[in-house]
């Protein structure tokens, strides 16, 4: 990671900077979505972009998720590079046919002739008291589909570098931003950089246990690692950064080194990202493991509104800490 020289941006600012830089670099790039222009999205992630690039390149659309995604697929197939903004990750359900049956398959079905360089930006993450239809983390759904790439950044630095890569990629990319993280600050250098897909990042080095954590759960894992340090357990926190492609090698190597692993992700636990990654580690590091690979995802319930109920559905530091403690025989 290049030196930021003390320069800090919020997660939202990093996203905005990536978009602005790519739009300046490449006139084919444009943004389309609900309330993306003057409103700058409800989270104000895009504030200022319409002023710089104009309404031709920051386009307010009707509330038609399938329509704008489908339009984006056709646009991408014919030479432009759309960034489709889907306000809440829960609404990707409305884009499913266009992403899964169209965008993901066009290149393959055409025998490699047609390409879909489309980025679908959306959100994940609970605890905003937004209830069951505005709080889910559904990145596993797209991760399931060959032909799609899926990015789940956890820091402002990663968000910027990965979004620039997503926009330059010739494939459909789903980019999930934790909406609770938009105000999180972190170092972001002023100079140009990109981050390749499929390269995990070790957010904290450790020796006794590997905590694989994604997106919103990286901060949770780092918090748990601090608690573990206090009881003499050295935890390594590994962030895959992209679920598709998945950097299996780094995950396996870390687990081989520490001999224990927990996987934490904010998606629903059943059939989720944690299941896939746990299986990768169990297969790849089997002879090095001293304990079964454990996983923690969101509770398998529709996300409730009432704050104490909602909080109970999301993995937290204490849960990760307790599980790690048990795995390390410190219980």
């Amino acid at each position: 990671m290049p030196d930021a020289n003390g320069r800090e941006l919020t997660f939202a600012e990093a996203i905005r900077e990536a978009l602005a830089e790519e739009m300046r670099r490449d006139p084919r790039v444009f943004i389309v979505g609900e309330d993306v222009a003057e409103a700058g999205t409800p989270f104000k992630v895009l504030s200022g972009l319409v002023e710089e690039f104009g309404p031709e390149r920051v386009i307010d659309s009707p509330i038609s998720e399938a329509g704008i995604t489908g339009l984006g697929v056709g646009v991408a197939m014919t030479g432009l590079r759309p960034v489709v903004d889907i306000m809440f990750g829960d609404f990707i359900t409305l884009t499913m046919d266009q992403m899964v049956n169209q965008a993901a398959k066009v290149h393959y079905m055409s025998g490699g002739k047609l390409k879909v360089p489309l980025v679908l930006r959306t959100t994940l993450g609970a605890t905003r008291r937004s209830a069951a239809q505005h709080s889910q983390s559904l990145h596993a759904w797209f991760s399931h589909v060959p032909g799609l790439k899926v990015v789940i950044p956890s820091t402002p630095y990663d968000a910027k570098g990965l979004l620039k890569t997503a926009i330059r990629d010739d494939n459909p990319v789903a980019f999930f931003e934790d909406k609770m993280m938009y105000k999180l600050k972190g170092p972001v250098p002023a100079e140009e950089y990109t981050i390749p897909f499929g390269v995990a990042d070790i957010k904290r080095a450790g020796a006794d246990i590997t905590i694989v954590a994604t997106s919103s759960m990286v901060q949770v894992a780092l918090g748990a690692a601090k608690l573990l340090e206090e009881i003499g357990v050295s935890a390594e926190v590994v962030d895959p950064r992209t679920t598709a492609p998945l950097d299996k090698q780094t995950l396996i190597e870390s687990a081989k080194k520490t001999s224990r692993a927990i996987v934490v992700d904010e998606g629903y636990e059943r059939y989720g990202v944690t299941a896939e990654i746990a299986s990768v580690i169990a297969d790849g590091a089997f002879y090095y493991l001293d304990a079964p690979v454990k996983r923690i995802g969101a509770m398998d319930v529709p996300i409730p509104f009432s704050p104490p109920l909602e909080d109970a559905t999301v993995p937290n530091e204490q849960m990760v800490f307790e599980m790690a403690k048990t795995l390390c025989g410190k219980a």
Partner: protein
């Protein structure tokens, strides 16, 4: 591009000459003979999968595509062989794709329902009913943004009138004045169900509700389809926005080749009536001979030449190699 008049009403279309009509005739014959051959290959178990034949609807694909430039875009449907051919696809590579051969348009990876051909502006057939409406609208967005003068045509059957995506993108197209023409082929049946059981109100009114310029035409009359389409294409090229063309047509065969016993959803008499009285090839023949623009020997020669071409192309596909299994994981990502 030459400076063109400002409104559609000021424009005058030149009446096509006999060579053009004969070309349209030849294209329709090509589609019919191609589809008859597909039927044969399928029933001989030489073609895997499904075959949704376009026989009966030839005048729509040909009339529409003849009004387009080679670089204009189309998106097609599961019943898409006619659209591909009318847009200029080669019969050899079409057959090869239908048989899953590497020489096919998509290296055998797409098959009958997914033929795409960039060189003729064909962005692909789509096996999700209405699924390509977004793609066609997006292609029109690109054309407008880049100022290429291209238009995009979205072919769909009346079954797609039941899909919400269509209305979302028609709204976008009209809001943003995109050069896209939605061509609805009403062949009367959503698979095995008559469209009147599935479609409330007037399909044209749905387009008009968005303020989209809409017309309907006898989809069995290739001259009518062609001349109507020329007008719609020109107004879209001039920046007057999207259009909707409802073509009344008829699917002679089943939903797919295996749909043999159809009496539970339509009568044999109805089928016979359309074939006897409203066949697109017969209609054009009557015009050409009635107007003494040509004679039967010329038309017979067209048929004979097309048959030779089709037979050779089918044989090419039969003899062509399957893709090596090592290709299965290629082209998942660009």
């Amino acid at each position: 591009m030459n400076r063109l008049p400002d409104t559609a009403s000021q424009r005058v279309q030149a009446e096509p000459d006999v060579e053009q009509w004969l070309h349209l005739y030849q294209q329709m014959v090509k589609i019919r003979e191609f589809e008859e051959k597909v039927n044969e290959l399928y029933t001989q178990a030489l073609m895997p999968g499904l075959a949704h034949l376009y026989i009966g609807q030839e005048a729509v694909a040909v009339g529409v595509c003849e009004a387009l430039r080679r670089d204009d875009y189309i998106t097609s449907t599961h019943r898409g062989h006619g659209h591909c051919l009318a847009k200029g696809a080669s019969v050899e590579r079409m057959f090869a794709e239908l048989l899953g051969k590497e020489a096919g348009y998509c290296r055998g990876k797409g098959g009958s329902m997914h033929i795409a051909d960039q060189d003729t502006g064909n962005l692909g057939a789509n096996a999700i009913v209405g699924g390509s409406a977004g793609i066609a609208t997006g292609a029109a967005f690109t054309a407008k943004r880049l100022g290429t003068g291209q238009v995009a045509v979205c072919f769909f059957g009346e079954g797609a009138l039941g899909q919400g995506l269509l209305y979302e993108v028609m709204n976008l197209a009209q809001l943003w004045k995109l050069p896209v023409i939605y061509v609805c082929e009403n062949n009367l049946y959503n698979e095995y169900t008559r469209y009147t059981e599935t479609t409330a109100g007037d399909p044209l009114a749905r387009a008009k509700a968005f303020g989209i310029y809409a017309e309907e035409v006898d989809g069995q009359d290739v001259r009518a389809v062609y001349t109507t389409m020329q007008r719609l294409v020109e107004r879209s090229r001039l920046g007057e926005g999207p259009a909707f063309l409802l073509c009344h047509t008829y699917r002679y065969r089943g939903h797919h080749v295996g749909d043999i016993n159809r009496t539970y959803y339509r009568s044999k008499e109805e089928e016979q009536e359309w074939m006897a009285l409203r066949d697109p090839l017969k209609k054009l023949t009557e015009f050409l001979i009635g107007q003494q623009l040509t004679d039967q020997t010329v038309l017979d020669r067209i048929h004979a030449d097309v048959k030779v071409e089709i037979e050779a192309a089918a044989q090419f596909a039969i003899d062509a190699a399957y893709p090596d299994v090592s290709q299965v994981a290629q082209h998942v990502y660009a």
